[in-house]
Symmetry: C2
Subunit: 248 residues, 2 copies
Protein backbone atom coordinates (compact mmCIF):
# COMPACT_ATOMS: atom_id res chain seq x y z
CA UNK A 1 0.00 0.00 0.00
CA UNK A 2 1.77 3.11 -1.17
CA UNK A 3 1.62 6.52 0.45
CA UNK A 4 1.85 9.88 -1.38
CA UNK A 5 3.40 12.68 0.68
CA UNK A 6 3.74 16.41 -0.16
CA UNK A 7 6.77 18.14 1.33
CA UNK A 8 5.43 21.66 1.48
CA UNK A 9 5.79 25.08 3.02
CA UNK A 10 5.32 28.28 1.05
CA UNK A 11 8.01 29.99 3.19
CA UNK A 12 11.15 29.97 1.10
CA UNK A 13 14.43 28.24 1.93
CA UNK A 14 13.18 26.06 4.84
CA UNK A 15 14.62 22.79 3.48
CA UNK A 16 11.80 21.32 1.34
CA UNK A 17 14.10 20.13 -1.43
CA UNK A 18 16.87 18.98 0.94
CA UNK A 19 14.26 16.97 2.90
CA UNK A 20 12.55 15.42 -0.14
CA UNK A 21 15.90 14.09 -1.39
CA UNK A 22 17.22 12.83 1.93
CA UNK A 23 13.99 11.40 3.36
CA UNK A 24 13.58 9.63 0.01
CA UNK A 25 17.14 8.31 0.12
CA UNK A 26 16.75 7.42 3.82
CA UNK A 27 13.57 5.40 3.25
CA UNK A 28 15.29 3.74 0.30
CA UNK A 29 18.24 2.75 2.56
CA UNK A 30 15.65 1.18 4.88
CA UNK A 31 14.48 -1.05 2.01
CA UNK A 32 11.57 0.94 0.57
CA UNK A 33 10.85 1.71 -3.11
CA UNK A 34 10.66 5.47 -3.52
CA UNK A 35 9.53 7.92 -6.22
CA UNK A 36 10.52 11.59 -5.92
CA UNK A 37 8.49 14.12 -7.93
CA UNK A 38 10.02 17.57 -8.56
CA UNK A 39 7.09 19.99 -8.80
CA UNK A 40 9.16 23.18 -8.49
CA UNK A 41 9.94 25.33 -11.57
CA UNK A 42 13.37 26.00 -9.99
CA UNK A 43 14.05 22.27 -10.55
CA UNK A 44 16.35 22.17 -7.50
CA UNK A 45 15.50 18.54 -6.69
CA UNK A 46 16.47 17.45 -10.22
CA UNK A 47 19.66 19.54 -10.25
CA UNK A 48 20.66 18.23 -6.82
CA UNK A 49 20.59 14.69 -8.19
CA UNK A 50 22.53 15.64 -11.31
CA UNK A 51 19.61 15.73 -13.77
CA UNK A 52 19.65 18.85 -15.95
CA UNK A 53 16.85 19.64 -18.46
CA UNK A 54 15.73 16.07 -19.18
CA UNK A 55 13.68 15.40 -22.32
CA UNK A 56 10.73 13.89 -20.43
CA UNK A 57 9.69 15.76 -17.32
CA UNK A 58 6.76 16.74 -15.09
CA UNK A 59 5.82 19.69 -17.34
CA UNK A 60 5.17 17.58 -20.43
CA UNK A 61 3.18 15.12 -18.32
CA UNK A 62 1.03 17.88 -16.77
CA UNK A 63 0.32 19.22 -20.28
CA UNK A 64 -0.92 15.74 -21.23
CA UNK A 65 1.85 15.08 -23.78
CA UNK A 66 2.95 11.81 -22.15
CA UNK A 67 2.58 9.73 -18.97
CA UNK A 68 4.96 10.04 -15.97
CA UNK A 69 8.38 8.66 -16.96
CA UNK A 70 10.48 7.77 -13.87
CA UNK A 71 14.29 7.95 -14.11
CA UNK A 72 16.32 5.66 -11.80
CA UNK A 73 18.77 7.40 -9.43
CA UNK A 74 19.87 4.26 -7.55
CA UNK A 75 18.08 0.92 -7.24
CA UNK A 76 14.69 1.57 -5.64
CA UNK A 77 14.93 5.39 -5.85
CA UNK A 78 13.36 6.99 -8.96
CA UNK A 79 12.64 10.61 -9.88
CA UNK A 80 10.19 12.50 -12.12
CA UNK A 81 12.36 15.55 -12.91
CA UNK A 82 11.31 19.15 -13.43
CA UNK A 83 12.32 21.78 -15.96
CA UNK A 84 12.66 25.57 -15.81
CA UNK A 85 9.75 25.72 -18.32
CA UNK A 86 7.42 24.53 -15.57
CA UNK A 87 7.05 28.20 -14.55
CA UNK A 88 4.52 28.49 -17.38
CA UNK A 89 2.37 25.63 -16.07
CA UNK A 90 0.20 27.46 -13.54
CA UNK A 91 -1.22 29.93 -16.04
CA UNK A 92 -1.68 27.17 -18.65
CA UNK A 93 -3.46 24.83 -16.24
CA UNK A 94 -5.66 27.50 -14.63
CA UNK A 95 -8.20 27.32 -17.49
CA UNK A 96 -8.72 23.53 -17.40
CA UNK A 97 -11.78 21.98 -15.81
CA UNK A 98 -10.73 19.99 -12.74
CA UNK A 99 -7.25 21.51 -13.02
CA UNK A 100 -6.51 20.55 -9.37
CA UNK A 101 -6.70 16.81 -10.17
CA UNK A 102 -4.20 16.71 -13.05
CA UNK A 103 -1.26 15.40 -10.98
CA UNK A 104 -3.44 12.95 -9.05
CA UNK A 105 -4.57 11.40 -12.35
CA UNK A 106 -0.95 11.08 -13.54
CA UNK A 107 0.17 9.34 -10.32
CA UNK A 108 -2.73 6.83 -10.17
CA UNK A 109 -1.39 4.28 -12.72
CA UNK A 110 2.13 4.07 -11.23
CA UNK A 111 1.30 4.48 -7.56
CA UNK A 112 1.24 0.75 -6.77
CA UNK A 113 4.88 0.21 -7.79
CA UNK A 114 6.23 2.42 -4.97
CA UNK A 115 6.06 2.32 -1.16
CA UNK A 116 6.34 6.11 -0.89
CA UNK A 117 5.93 8.92 -3.40
CA UNK A 118 7.41 12.24 -2.17
CA UNK A 119 6.51 15.51 -3.92
CA UNK A 120 8.82 18.56 -3.57
CA UNK A 121 6.66 21.72 -3.80
CA UNK A 122 7.59 25.28 -4.84
CA UNK A 123 7.62 28.13 -2.26
CA UNK A 124 4.05 29.27 -2.99
CA UNK A 125 0.41 28.23 -2.53
CA UNK A 126 -0.44 28.36 -6.23
CA UNK A 127 -1.90 25.71 -8.54
CA UNK A 128 1.22 23.47 -8.49
CA UNK A 129 1.13 23.17 -4.68
CA UNK A 130 -2.65 22.67 -4.80
CA UNK A 131 -2.14 19.84 -7.31
CA UNK A 132 0.37 18.32 -4.91
CA UNK A 133 -2.10 18.49 -1.97
CA UNK A 134 -4.93 17.04 -4.07
CA UNK A 135 -2.71 14.10 -5.08
CA UNK A 136 -1.40 13.40 -1.56
CA UNK A 137 -2.40 11.32 1.46
CA UNK A 138 -0.32 13.49 3.80
CA UNK A 139 1.56 16.77 4.00
CA UNK A 140 4.91 16.92 5.79
CA UNK A 141 5.85 20.46 6.80
CA UNK A 142 9.57 21.31 7.18
CA UNK A 143 10.02 24.27 9.54
CA UNK A 144 13.04 26.48 10.08
CA UNK A 145 13.21 27.39 13.76
CA UNK A 146 12.98 31.10 13.00
CA UNK A 147 10.37 33.78 13.68
CA UNK A 148 9.43 34.47 10.03
CA UNK A 149 8.93 30.76 9.32
CA UNK A 150 6.31 30.56 12.10
CA UNK A 151 4.23 33.35 10.59
CA UNK A 152 3.11 31.51 7.50
CA UNK A 153 1.88 28.36 9.26
CA UNK A 154 -1.70 29.50 9.84
CA UNK A 155 -2.22 30.25 6.15
CA UNK A 156 -0.66 26.91 5.15
CA UNK A 157 -2.98 24.97 7.49
CA UNK A 158 -5.97 26.95 6.17
CA UNK A 159 -5.18 25.97 2.57
CA UNK A 160 -4.67 22.30 3.56
CA UNK A 161 -8.05 22.39 5.29
CA UNK A 162 -9.76 23.89 2.26
CA UNK A 163 -8.27 21.22 -0.05
CA UNK A 164 -9.39 18.51 2.39
CA UNK A 165 -12.98 19.81 2.37
CA UNK A 166 -13.32 20.38 -1.35
CA UNK A 167 -10.83 18.24 -3.28
CA UNK A 168 -9.27 15.45 -1.22
CA UNK A 169 -11.05 14.07 1.87
CA UNK A 170 -8.10 11.80 2.78
CA UNK A 171 -5.59 14.65 3.10
CA UNK A 172 -4.05 15.20 6.54
CA UNK A 173 -0.98 16.80 8.08
CA UNK A 174 1.37 13.82 8.45
CA UNK A 175 3.83 15.67 10.59
CA UNK A 176 5.98 18.73 11.17
CA UNK A 177 9.76 18.58 11.49
CA UNK A 178 12.44 21.11 12.41
CA UNK A 179 15.22 21.86 9.91
CA UNK A 180 18.52 23.78 10.09
CA UNK A 181 18.44 23.53 13.89
CA UNK A 182 21.29 24.96 15.97
CA UNK A 183 20.75 24.34 19.70
CA UNK A 184 23.24 27.11 20.56
CA UNK A 185 20.85 29.74 19.17
CA UNK A 186 18.27 30.90 21.72
CA UNK A 187 15.91 31.86 18.90
CA UNK A 188 15.95 28.28 17.59
CA UNK A 189 15.20 26.88 21.06
CA UNK A 190 12.39 29.38 21.65
CA UNK A 191 10.69 28.74 18.32
CA UNK A 192 10.93 24.96 18.78
CA UNK A 193 9.21 25.29 22.15
CA UNK A 194 6.39 27.24 20.48
CA UNK A 195 6.05 24.69 17.67
CA UNK A 196 6.01 21.70 20.05
CA UNK A 197 3.38 23.36 22.26
CA UNK A 198 1.17 24.01 19.22
CA UNK A 199 1.60 20.76 17.25
CA UNK A 200 2.23 18.32 20.17
CA UNK A 201 2.50 14.72 18.82
CA UNK A 202 2.53 15.88 15.19
CA UNK A 203 6.11 17.12 15.61
CA UNK A 204 8.72 14.52 14.76
CA UNK A 205 11.24 14.01 17.57
CA UNK A 206 14.20 14.18 15.16
CA UNK A 207 15.45 17.72 14.55
CA UNK A 208 17.56 18.08 11.43
CA UNK A 209 20.62 20.01 12.59
CA UNK A 210 22.30 22.79 10.63
CA UNK A 211 25.02 20.84 8.82
CA UNK A 212 27.10 22.17 5.95
CA UNK A 213 27.39 18.70 4.34
CA UNK A 214 23.67 18.99 3.45
CA UNK A 215 24.41 22.16 1.47
CA UNK A 216 27.51 20.65 -0.17
CA UNK A 217 25.93 17.38 -1.35
CA UNK A 218 23.76 18.95 -4.14
CA UNK A 219 26.91 20.32 -5.82
CA UNK A 220 28.04 16.69 -6.26
CA UNK A 221 24.61 15.49 -7.42
CA UNK A 222 24.36 13.14 -4.43
CA UNK A 223 22.00 12.56 -1.50
CA UNK A 224 23.59 12.94 1.94
CA UNK A 225 24.15 9.17 2.43
CA UNK A 226 26.20 8.82 -0.73
CA UNK A 227 27.99 12.14 -0.09
CA UNK A 228 29.01 11.75 3.55
CA UNK A 229 27.57 8.84 5.51
CA UNK A 230 29.17 9.97 8.81
CA UNK A 231 27.75 13.52 8.75
CA UNK A 232 25.13 14.88 11.16
CA UNK A 233 22.89 15.35 8.12
CA UNK A 234 23.02 11.64 7.29
CA UNK A 235 22.44 10.72 10.94
CA UNK A 236 19.42 13.05 11.28
CA UNK A 237 17.70 12.15 8.00
CA UNK A 238 18.12 8.42 8.72
CA UNK A 239 16.60 8.90 12.16
CA UNK A 240 13.75 10.97 10.66
CA UNK A 241 13.15 8.26 8.03
CA UNK A 242 12.92 5.60 10.77
CA UNK A 243 10.38 7.75 12.64
CA UNK A 244 8.32 8.11 9.45
CA UNK A 245 8.20 4.33 9.02
CA UNK A 246 7.01 3.93 12.61
CA UNK A 247 4.14 6.41 12.06
CA UNK A 248 2.79 4.42 9.12
CA UNK B 1 15.19 62.21 -8.45
CA UNK B 2 13.86 59.03 -6.89
CA UNK B 3 14.92 55.49 -7.71
CA UNK B 4 12.67 52.40 -7.64
CA UNK B 5 14.49 49.15 -6.77
CA UNK B 6 13.17 45.55 -6.77
CA UNK B 7 14.77 43.24 -4.21
CA UNK B 8 14.24 39.95 -6.02
CA UNK B 9 15.31 36.35 -6.32
CA UNK B 10 12.87 33.51 -6.87
CA UNK B 11 15.06 31.19 -4.77
CA UNK B 12 13.43 31.01 -1.38
CA UNK B 13 14.93 32.15 1.92
CA UNK B 14 17.91 34.11 0.53
CA UNK B 15 17.24 37.27 2.57
CA UNK B 16 14.98 39.38 0.30
CA UNK B 17 12.74 40.58 3.12
CA UNK B 18 15.59 41.01 5.62
CA UNK B 19 17.45 43.10 3.02
CA UNK B 20 14.47 45.25 1.99
CA UNK B 21 13.89 46.24 5.63
CA UNK B 22 17.50 46.86 6.57
CA UNK B 23 18.69 48.53 3.38
CA UNK B 24 15.60 50.75 3.69
CA UNK B 25 16.37 51.55 7.34
CA UNK B 26 20.08 51.99 6.53
CA UNK B 27 19.39 54.51 3.73
CA UNK B 28 16.97 56.27 6.08
CA UNK B 29 19.71 56.53 8.75
CA UNK B 30 21.87 58.15 6.04
CA UNK B 31 19.23 60.87 5.61
CA UNK B 32 17.15 59.51 2.72
CA UNK B 33 13.34 59.33 2.46
CA UNK B 34 12.36 55.71 1.86
CA UNK B 35 9.23 53.82 0.86
CA UNK B 36 9.10 50.03 1.34
CA UNK B 37 6.50 48.08 -0.67
CA UNK B 38 5.58 44.57 0.50
CA UNK B 39 4.62 42.64 -2.65
CA UNK B 40 4.73 39.17 -1.07
CA UNK B 41 1.51 37.34 -0.09
CA UNK B 42 3.42 35.98 2.93
CA UNK B 43 3.47 39.61 4.17
CA UNK B 44 6.77 39.00 5.98
CA UNK B 45 7.98 42.59 5.47
CA UNK B 46 4.81 43.96 7.08
CA UNK B 47 4.89 41.44 9.97
CA UNK B 48 8.59 42.16 10.58
CA UNK B 49 7.72 45.83 11.17
CA UNK B 50 4.79 45.01 13.41
CA UNK B 51 1.99 45.63 10.89
CA UNK B 52 -0.59 42.83 10.85
CA UNK B 53 -3.53 42.77 8.38
CA UNK B 54 -3.87 46.52 7.86
CA UNK B 55 -7.11 47.89 6.38
CA UNK B 56 -5.42 49.56 3.41
CA UNK B 57 -2.79 47.49 1.70
CA UNK B 58 -1.13 46.66 -1.62
CA UNK B 59 -3.88 44.20 -2.58
CA UNK B 60 -6.70 46.76 -2.50
CA UNK B 61 -4.53 49.18 -4.46
CA UNK B 62 -3.68 46.58 -7.14
CA UNK B 63 -7.40 45.82 -7.48
CA UNK B 64 -8.01 49.52 -8.14
CA UNK B 65 -10.05 50.10 -4.95
CA UNK B 66 -7.82 52.94 -3.70
CA UNK B 67 -4.45 54.64 -4.29
CA UNK B 68 -1.24 53.61 -2.44
CA UNK B 69 -1.58 54.61 1.23
CA UNK B 70 1.86 54.78 2.95
CA UNK B 71 2.08 54.11 6.70
CA UNK B 72 4.96 55.77 8.63
CA UNK B 73 7.34 53.40 10.47
CA UNK B 74 9.80 56.09 11.65
CA UNK B 75 10.36 59.58 10.27
CA UNK B 76 11.38 59.23 6.62
CA UNK B 77 10.65 55.48 6.42
CA UNK B 78 7.18 54.53 5.14
CA UNK B 79 5.65 51.19 4.11
CA UNK B 80 2.86 49.96 1.83
CA UNK B 81 1.91 46.77 3.69
CA UNK B 82 0.74 43.44 2.30
CA UNK B 83 -1.99 41.03 3.33
CA UNK B 84 -2.34 37.23 3.15
CA UNK B 85 -5.19 37.83 0.67
CA UNK B 86 -2.62 38.99 -1.88
CA UNK B 87 -2.21 35.32 -2.86
CA UNK B 88 -5.37 35.76 -4.93
CA UNK B 89 -3.95 38.69 -6.89
CA UNK B 90 -1.99 36.89 -9.62
CA UNK B 91 -5.01 35.00 -10.94
CA UNK B 92 -7.22 38.11 -10.68
CA UNK B 93 -4.73 40.35 -12.51
CA UNK B 94 -3.84 37.84 -15.21
CA UNK B 95 -6.95 38.72 -17.26
CA UNK B 96 -6.39 42.50 -17.33
CA UNK B 97 -5.01 44.28 -20.37
CA UNK B 98 -1.57 45.68 -19.54
CA UNK B 99 -1.60 43.73 -16.27
CA UNK B 100 2.20 44.10 -15.97
CA UNK B 101 1.92 47.91 -15.58
CA UNK B 102 -0.55 48.02 -12.68
CA UNK B 103 2.07 48.60 -9.94
CA UNK B 104 4.02 51.10 -12.06
CA UNK B 105 0.87 53.19 -12.50
CA UNK B 106 0.21 53.14 -8.73
CA UNK B 107 3.77 54.28 -7.89
CA UNK B 108 3.91 57.13 -10.44
CA UNK B 109 1.95 59.78 -8.44
CA UNK B 110 3.91 59.29 -5.17
CA UNK B 111 7.34 58.54 -6.59
CA UNK B 112 8.64 62.12 -6.30
CA UNK B 113 8.19 62.24 -2.50
CA UNK B 114 10.82 59.54 -1.88
CA UNK B 115 14.55 59.18 -2.59
CA UNK B 116 14.30 55.38 -2.84
CA UNK B 117 11.36 53.00 -3.21
CA UNK B 118 12.27 49.38 -2.35
CA UNK B 119 9.98 46.51 -3.38
CA UNK B 120 10.18 43.14 -1.55
CA UNK B 121 9.22 40.37 -4.03
CA UNK B 122 7.81 36.90 -3.40
CA UNK B 123 9.93 33.77 -4.12
CA UNK B 124 8.58 33.25 -7.65
CA UNK B 125 8.70 34.72 -11.15
CA UNK B 126 4.95 35.19 -11.45
CA UNK B 127 2.88 38.28 -12.21
CA UNK B 128 3.65 40.04 -8.89
CA UNK B 129 7.42 39.86 -9.50
CA UNK B 130 6.88 40.91 -13.13
CA UNK B 131 4.90 43.94 -11.90
CA UNK B 132 7.79 44.75 -9.62
CA UNK B 133 10.33 44.59 -12.49
CA UNK B 134 8.12 46.68 -14.78
CA UNK B 135 7.83 49.36 -12.08
CA UNK B 136 11.55 49.43 -11.23
CA UNK B 137 14.69 51.23 -12.40
CA UNK B 138 16.95 48.51 -10.99
CA UNK B 139 16.90 44.98 -9.58
CA UNK B 140 19.09 44.14 -6.58
CA UNK B 141 19.68 40.38 -6.24
CA UNK B 142 20.42 38.98 -2.75
CA UNK B 143 22.37 35.72 -3.04
CA UNK B 144 22.97 33.05 -0.43
CA UNK B 145 26.48 31.66 -0.91
CA UNK B 146 25.18 28.15 -1.47
CA UNK B 147 25.11 25.83 -4.50
CA UNK B 148 21.32 25.72 -4.96
CA UNK B 149 21.09 29.52 -4.87
CA UNK B 150 23.50 29.75 -7.83
CA UNK B 151 21.36 27.52 -10.02
CA UNK B 152 18.43 29.87 -10.41
CA UNK B 153 20.45 32.90 -11.49
CA UNK B 154 20.40 32.23 -15.23
CA UNK B 155 16.59 32.05 -15.29
CA UNK B 156 16.29 35.22 -13.19
CA UNK B 157 18.58 37.15 -15.57
CA UNK B 158 16.59 35.82 -18.55
CA UNK B 159 13.31 37.11 -17.13
CA UNK B 160 14.87 40.52 -16.31
CA UNK B 161 16.12 40.71 -19.91
CA UNK B 162 12.70 39.86 -21.31
CA UNK B 163 11.02 42.55 -19.17
CA UNK B 164 13.67 45.04 -20.29
CA UNK B 165 12.99 44.31 -23.99
CA UNK B 166 9.21 44.26 -23.83
CA UNK B 167 7.95 46.24 -20.85
CA UNK B 168 10.58 48.50 -19.25
CA UNK B 169 13.56 49.73 -21.29
CA UNK B 170 15.20 51.41 -18.27
CA UNK B 171 15.43 48.21 -16.20
CA UNK B 172 18.92 47.03 -15.28
CA UNK B 173 20.58 44.82 -12.68
CA UNK B 174 21.67 47.35 -10.07
CA UNK B 175 23.82 44.91 -8.19
CA UNK B 176 24.23 41.54 -6.55
CA UNK B 177 25.07 41.11 -2.87
CA UNK B 178 25.95 38.12 -0.70
CA UNK B 179 23.76 37.29 2.30
CA UNK B 180 24.07 34.91 5.28
CA UNK B 181 27.85 34.69 4.68
CA UNK B 182 30.06 32.61 6.99
CA UNK B 183 33.73 32.84 5.98
CA UNK B 184 34.53 29.65 7.95
CA UNK B 185 32.45 27.59 5.51
CA UNK B 186 34.45 26.48 2.45
CA UNK B 187 31.22 26.25 0.42
CA UNK B 188 30.46 29.92 1.10
CA UNK B 189 33.99 30.97 0.03
CA UNK B 190 33.83 28.82 -3.14
CA UNK B 191 30.42 30.12 -4.22
CA UNK B 192 31.45 33.74 -3.60
CA UNK B 193 34.52 33.24 -5.81
CA UNK B 194 32.21 31.94 -8.59
CA UNK B 195 29.79 34.86 -8.19
CA UNK B 196 32.54 37.49 -8.21
CA UNK B 197 34.13 35.95 -11.33
CA UNK B 198 30.77 36.02 -13.11
CA UNK B 199 29.35 39.39 -12.01
CA UNK B 200 32.64 41.34 -11.52
CA UNK B 201 31.85 44.98 -10.59
CA UNK B 202 28.15 44.31 -10.17
CA UNK B 203 28.85 42.52 -6.87
CA UNK B 204 28.72 44.82 -3.86
CA UNK B 205 31.88 44.62 -1.74
CA UNK B 206 29.87 44.31 1.50
CA UNK B 207 28.93 40.75 2.37
CA UNK B 208 26.11 40.47 4.85
CA UNK B 209 27.35 37.99 7.44
CA UNK B 210 25.26 35.27 9.02
CA UNK B 211 24.12 37.02 12.21
CA UNK B 212 21.37 35.76 14.52
CA UNK B 213 20.35 39.33 15.47
CA UNK B 214 18.94 39.70 11.93
CA UNK B 215 16.63 36.72 12.55
CA UNK B 216 15.65 37.97 16.03
CA UNK B 217 14.75 41.56 15.05
CA UNK B 218 11.51 40.66 13.15
CA UNK B 219 10.07 39.09 16.33
CA UNK B 220 10.33 42.53 17.93
CA UNK B 221 8.89 44.36 14.89
CA UNK B 222 12.15 46.33 14.50
CA UNK B 223 14.80 46.88 11.82
CA UNK B 224 18.30 45.82 12.81
CA UNK B 225 19.41 49.38 13.75
CA UNK B 226 16.63 49.83 16.27
CA UNK B 227 17.01 46.23 17.52
CA UNK B 228 20.79 46.03 18.02
CA UNK B 229 22.94 48.84 16.68
CA UNK B 230 26.23 47.10 17.63
CA UNK B 231 25.47 43.81 15.82
CA UNK B 232 27.30 42.56 12.72
CA UNK B 233 23.94 42.79 10.92
CA UNK B 234 23.68 46.52 11.63
CA UNK B 235 27.31 47.07 10.62
CA UNK B 236 26.92 45.16 7.32
CA UNK B 237 23.60 46.71 6.24
CA UNK B 238 24.91 50.21 7.00
CA UNK B 239 28.04 49.52 4.95
CA UNK B 240 25.87 48.10 2.11
CA UNK B 241 23.60 51.18 2.26
CA UNK B 242 26.65 53.45 1.96
CA UNK B 243 27.84 51.49 -1.08
CA UNK B 244 24.40 51.84 -2.67
CA UNK B 245 24.51 55.62 -2.25
CA UNK B 246 27.94 55.73 -3.91
CA UNK B 247 26.67 53.78 -6.94
CA UNK B 248 23.91 56.32 -7.60
N1 LIG C 1 19.92 21.16 7.72
C1 LIG C 1 20.59 21.97 6.88
N2 LIG C 1 21.81 22.40 7.22
C2 LIG C 1 22.50 23.25 6.40
N3 LIG C 1 22.05 23.71 5.23
C3 LIG C 1 20.83 23.31 4.83
C4 LIG C 1 20.03 22.41 5.61
N4 LIG C 1 18.87 22.18 4.95
C5 LIG C 1 18.93 22.91 3.82
N5 LIG C 1 20.11 23.58 3.73
C6 LIG C 1 20.54 24.55 2.69
O1 LIG C 1 19.71 25.70 2.83
C7 LIG C 1 19.27 26.16 1.55
C8 LIG C 1 17.75 26.05 1.50
O2 LIG C 1 17.33 24.70 1.49
P1 LIG C 1 16.36 24.13 0.36
O3 LIG C 1 16.72 24.68 -0.96
O4 LIG C 1 16.27 22.66 0.52
O5 LIG C 1 15.00 24.80 0.86
P2 LIG C 1 13.62 24.89 0.08
O6 LIG C 1 12.56 25.05 1.10
O7 LIG C 1 13.50 23.75 -0.86
O8 LIG C 1 13.82 26.27 -0.74
P3 LIG C 1 12.79 26.87 -1.84
O9 LIG C 1 11.75 27.59 -1.01
O10 LIG C 1 13.63 27.80 -2.68
O11 LIG C 1 12.25 25.70 -2.61
C9 LIG C 1 19.97 25.28 0.52
O12 LIG C 1 21.13 25.96 0.07
C10 LIG C 1 20.33 24.02 1.28
O13 LIG C 1 21.49 23.42 0.77
N1 LIG D 1 22.32 37.58 7.36
C1 LIG D 1 21.46 36.79 8.03
N2 LIG D 1 21.89 36.15 9.14
C2 LIG D 1 21.05 35.32 9.82
N3 LIG D 1 19.78 35.08 9.49
C3 LIG D 1 19.29 35.70 8.40
C4 LIG D 1 20.08 36.60 7.62
N4 LIG D 1 19.32 37.06 6.61
C5 LIG D 1 18.10 36.47 6.74
N5 LIG D 1 18.07 35.67 7.82
C6 LIG D 1 16.98 34.79 8.28
O1 LIG D 1 16.85 33.77 7.29
C7 LIG D 1 15.47 33.54 7.00
C8 LIG D 1 15.22 33.86 5.52
O2 LIG D 1 15.36 35.25 5.30
P1 LIG D 1 14.20 36.09 4.57
O3 LIG D 1 12.87 35.66 5.07
O4 LIG D 1 14.56 37.52 4.65
O5 LIG D 1 14.43 35.57 3.07
P2 LIG D 1 13.45 35.78 1.83
O6 LIG D 1 14.31 35.64 0.63
O7 LIG D 1 12.68 37.02 2.00
O8 LIG D 1 12.48 34.50 1.97
P3 LIG D 1 11.18 34.20 1.06
O9 LIG D 1 11.76 33.54 -0.16
O10 LIG D 1 10.35 33.26 1.90
O11 LIG D 1 10.52 35.50 0.80
C9 LIG D 1 14.66 34.41 7.94
O12 LIG D 1 14.27 33.64 9.06
C10 LIG D 1 15.65 35.51 8.34
O13 LIG D 1 15.38 35.99 9.62
MG1 LIG E 1 13.08 23.79 -2.94
MG1 LIG F 1 10.59 37.29 1.87
Amino acid sequence: MSKVISISNHKGGVGKTTSAINIGAGLNKLGKKILLIDLDPQANLSQSLGIIEPERNIYGALRGEYKLQPIEIVKGLDIIPSTLDLSGAEVEMSGEAGREYILRELIEPIRASYDYILIDSPPSLGLLTINSFTASDEVFIPLQAQYLALQGLTKLLEVIDKIKKRLNKELKVGGVFITQYDSRKVLNRDVVATIEAHFKDEVFKTRVRDNIALAEAPAQGLDIFRYNLKSYGAEDYLSLSKEILKRK
